[in-house]
Amino acid sequence: MKRMNFGEAIAEGLTLEMERDPTIYIAGEDVGIFGGSFGVTGHGVFQKFGPSRVRDTPISETAIIGHAVGAAAAGLRPVVELMFMDFVGIAGDELWNQAAKMHYMFGGQLKVPMVVRTVSGAGIGAAAHHSQSLEAMIAHVPGLKLVAPATHADAKGLIIAAIRDDNPVVFVEHKMLYGLQGDVPEGDHVVRIGVADLKKLGADVTIVAWSAMVHTALAAAELLAAEGIDAEVLDLRSLVPLDKDAILESVAKTNKLVIAHEAVRTCGFGAEIAALVADEGFDLLDAPIKRVTAPDTPVPFSPALEAAYVPTAEKIRAAVVSLG
């Protein structure tokens, strides 16, 4: 185990894979000389592999994502960056219609082994265009895979898995995680895509979360413990494919479900989980399924508003308690 920050954990995964496979390259805005807008490729990746394998691009999200589709179809393994998840619309066709569909539309004749790393989340006052959690917009398109690590170990393990996956994978990095320190297994550490992880065992309620919200859920679990409520925290890690069995197994144990996500409420991914459990786990439930989410608004700028926007441990605690 080594202690490092979240960005370094991802950089370690990138480095190991790029050493192993010369067809892997990185491209994006400021990934090279600047070391990445959040410093990820600056943790030795650009220094080690240089400008031909860590390529700075113009401000051209359409071409950044779009060229990666062609490069992947033609035999490379691109790891491209969409600097902020909020920009997904700029490369919407490239991601939703091209990357996601080429394997299916061509009857399996080619594969698109690309990774799109992108940054989500509020908390630093970046406001409406730089703070969203848009995972539902990826999850809704068949053909894409979607992962969102919460811990450093999972970040390294999932970036390696994402790169090795022959499908297009969107890898979501919450910007509030970069500065945190965490323990990372050394060497070839892989986390299988599609497998959730119980970050805390419990008996009284299941809290499903992913990405930065896992940490908030764990904080809520501590608050709940003080009230004698034993919460179980399930970190999805992958949203597509979804570890449905893990969710149902946990709810079978606790009989109560709260889903917490930073994305807005309406049509957030929590709605999908709620529908799924209401359908396939109805008899397991002793209470309605609750979602703790951001409100249906753009991300506001003012720190006072942003603090009210992002779900807190207290809000999760209150939701659990309201289940009775």
């Binding site: 067809t23 390259y25 390529r55 691009t57 113009p58 051209s60 359409t62 071409a63 994502i65 779009g66 060229h67 990666a68 589709v69 062609g70 490069a71 992947a72 179809a73 033609a74 035999g75 490379l76 691109p78 066709d93 490239e94 219609n97 091209q98 080429m102 394997h103 299916y104 539309m105 061509f106 009857g107 399996g108 004749q109 080619l110 594969k111 068949p142 053909g143 895979k145 022959d166 499908n167």
Partner: protein, 320 residues
């Protein structure tokens, strides 16, 4: 450039094959036997055939919604193509793609595309793969006049130029983006002029002259193979039919249409071959007849093929 008789006949044969395929598809569609949509390539054969004539097996091609010509010129199998546009399980894409998404990846043909302009970044990325491999392979990307107004064109050509990618961009300017003529959707006459903005050469070619297309492409491909970067080649041409089958194209001036029909690339090249002493009219007629039976067989193959099943619906969303 080769004036070898067999090569010239191959060019002729290929154009005839494309025309015959489109005519057969057209007839089947009008009879009600064929599902979906058809965007016929008829009239533009000299572009696809002239371009493919200079490519190697390891080069890549990306195509458009009007892509049957590109696939046939690249060596596509008309049986598998016909079955695909009939939606049968024996088609190139198991019936899952259809006319606008037909592909033969083994031929380096990375697919037709239902989104105008979407081929351009994809072809650009394939060019990067060629550059990485370092064996001199190139990526040829087709698109129409309308597509050059999309951001994909701008971003891709700029990127290809900055990275000096081995890319050749072929603009098939048939003067119409569906119903809008070129002067209605851009304020310039020559799309090749746009190349200057990206620091790459821009070339204009008579897109109805297969040998002229071949020459221009050869130069662009050589430049790309030698590490000299991308080129934009604008082929002035004309589509014989409407944008899709069912479009009567009343937005086009009948006189202009007639003028272009008289420049039909196939009889034009045939006449050149005969007057050049390479072939006789009988040789050409023989080729026409040969192709006609090939297409008859392709239709029979398609119509006689099974439909995909409901189980097939759920496969190929992801690869293992």
């Amino acid at each position: 450039m080769s004036q070898d008789r067999e090569h010239l006949l191959d060019l002729y044969r290929c154009m005839v094959k494309i025309r015959a395929f489109e005519d057969a598809a057209h007839a089947q569609f009008l009879s009600g036997a064929m599902p979906g949509f058809l965007h016929l390539y008829s009239g533009e054969e000299a572009v696809a055939v002239g371009v493919m004539a200079v490519l190697r097996d390891d080069d890549f091609v990306t195509s458009t919604h009007r892509g049957h010509g590109h696939l046939i010129a690249r060596g596509g199998d008309v049986n598998l193509m016909m079955a695909e546009i009939f939606g049968r399980a024996t088609g190139y894409c198991k019936g899952k793609g259809g006319s606008m998404h037909v592909a033969d990846v083994k031929l380096g043909m990375l697919g037709a595309n239902g989104v105008v302009g979407a081929s351009i970044p994809i072809g650009t990325g394939a060019a990067l793969a060629c550059q990485f491999k370092g064996e001199g392979a190139v990526s040829v990307t087709f698109f129409g006049d309308g597509a050059t107004n999309r951001g994909t064109f701008h971003e891709s050509l700029n990127l290809a130029s900055v990275w000096q990618l081995p890319a050749v961009y072929i603009c098939e300017n048939n003067l119409y983006g569906v119903a809008n003529c070129q002067r209605e959707h851009m304020n310039i006459c020559d799309i090749a002029d746009r190349a200057k903005s990206y620091g790459m050469p821009g070339v204009i070619v008579d897109g109805n002259d297969v040998l002229a297309v071949r020459e221009a492409t050869a130069e662009a491909v050589a430049r790309a193979r030698e590490g000299g970067g991308p080129t934009l080649v604008e082929c002035k041409t004309w589509r014989h039919h409407g944008h899709f089958v069912g479009d009567a194209a009343t937005y086009r001036d009948p006189a202009e249409h007639q003028e272009w029909m008289e420049k039909d690339p196939i009889p034009r090249f045939g006449a050149d071959l005969v007057s050049g002493g390479h072939v006789t009219p009988d040789d050409l007629a023989f080729i026409q007849a040969e192709i006609a039976s090939e297409l008859e067989a392709a239709v029979a193959f398609a119509v006689g093929s099974p439909w995909p099943t409901e189980a097939d619906l759920l496969t190929d969303v992801y690869t293992d």
